[in-house]
Symmetry: C2
Subunit: 233 residues, 2 copies
């Protein structure tokens, strides 16, 4: 039986040995939901960057550049962090350079893992199936908010663990807590999250449709996998 653990913040990554693991990076609102959407809609690849200026520099190499900080699109970038922006015919077959406040930071800290894949509610069942078919133990890395624990990424960790439950052994208390929280939340996820800090932060930006979409399970049947320096399906 595979082992599964949850790292509740990228700032706790130093506690985990990852070179023999599949890491699932999760940033529900909204980086990994965007990445899943973009690749499902026919974008060729997504190259993640922790640093804004490194990402911006890819513009000259023919990439569409996508940049978000503190929930907002960065000036001068082609795209921001709403999944709806990636449902666009003109992006099909294109390569995207991608940087966000939390998600791409979590990806940067995951480099060195045996494998890195992208998780979101949008591809929950596809991801669960992919993991069941694989051989590696799993570490779910929640992107959080600037190093802090957040609820929506933890709920996704719980949802993935529930989907895998006869196939995995919970290693520590973090997966147990994630599962209990998800079981409490799942019948009314938006209601449960209404007091969550990042949801409030995003609600101020008037993107309720984004939130609703990012909490939709199984909209896409894809699993973004990190290959070399970029995610592809």
């Amino acid at each position: 039986m595979k082992k599964i653990d949850v790292c509740l913040s990228p700032d706790l990554m130093h506690l985990y040995k990852t070179d023999d693991r599949t890491i699932v990076v999760v940033d529900i609102l909204r980086a990994t939901s965007c990445m899943t959407t973009a690749l499902a809609f026919g974008i060729q690849s997504i190259t993640p960057f922790a640093l804004l200026e490194e990402c911006r520099a890819k513009k000259d190499q023919g990439y569409f550049i996508s940049g978000e900080r503190d929930g907002k699109k960065v000036e001068g970038f082609d795209l921001g962090n709403s999944p709806f922006e990636y449902m666009d015919e003109k992006l099909k077959g294109q390569n995207i350079a991608f940087t966000t406040t939390n998600g791409t930071q979590a990806i940067a800290k995951s480099i060195g893992a045996r494998e890195i894949v992208i998780g979101s509610f949008l591809n929950l069942s596809a991801l669960a199936k992919y993991i069941r078919q694989g051989k590696n133990d799993i570490l779910i890395v929640c992107a959080g908010w600037k190093g802090r624990f957040n609820l929506e990424d933890t709920l996704f960790a719980g949802a993935l663990i529930e989907s895998l439950k006869d196939h995995v052994e919970l290693e520590c208390d973090a997966p147990l807590a994630s599962l209990v929280l998800y079981q409490q939340a799942k019948s009314n996820m938006i209601g449960f999250l209404k007091d969550a800090s990042h949801v409030k932060r995003l609600a101020n930006l008037d993107i309720f449709e984004d939130i609703k979409f990012c909490l939709t399970a199984d909209h896409f049947n894809v699993v973004p996998v990190f290959k070399g320096s970029r995610f592809e399906i």
Copy 2:
């Protein structure tokens, strides 16, 4: 209304500004439960040490020395980490030097806060009353297990937040998650914790009575407060 936040691991302390806060340090199994018990039973003071050898050196200065690593009493120390060891007539009025795997590490990282107090189920209501009467915002610091999230400390954070609920504003997602987990667990705390990793670790050491005692609410009406270099009541 006071603000309240929860730091789920000492390894996340760098994210929090603490110089204007009262920090509640929590290590339910068993450091802060022992400290509460010891001071309630008439021990004069407890001086915490992160480092074993610094603690050991206090023996020559007339202290009783108390040392635990990985759940076990350290060889050559007078006392270990069971609350029952501190219910001892011969310790009344004595000063104790104290080091544990997680609890005293969390205390060391809390130095610099406006105030540091000790929390455990054993003094839950006394602590809640103390906080209601104070003026500072609150940060609950969960000692965890070697930097990792743990369930019993998080449940205590939830219990304290519930006790304070009309007097505090939850600042972030960690207090919200702690409260939800506690509300799920409170009717059967031992049952809820049976799969928790540290409870399993301690169960292997055959200290079920310790666990049961440490989960008892309001056994003592004391609040250990850090003064200079030591905790007193």
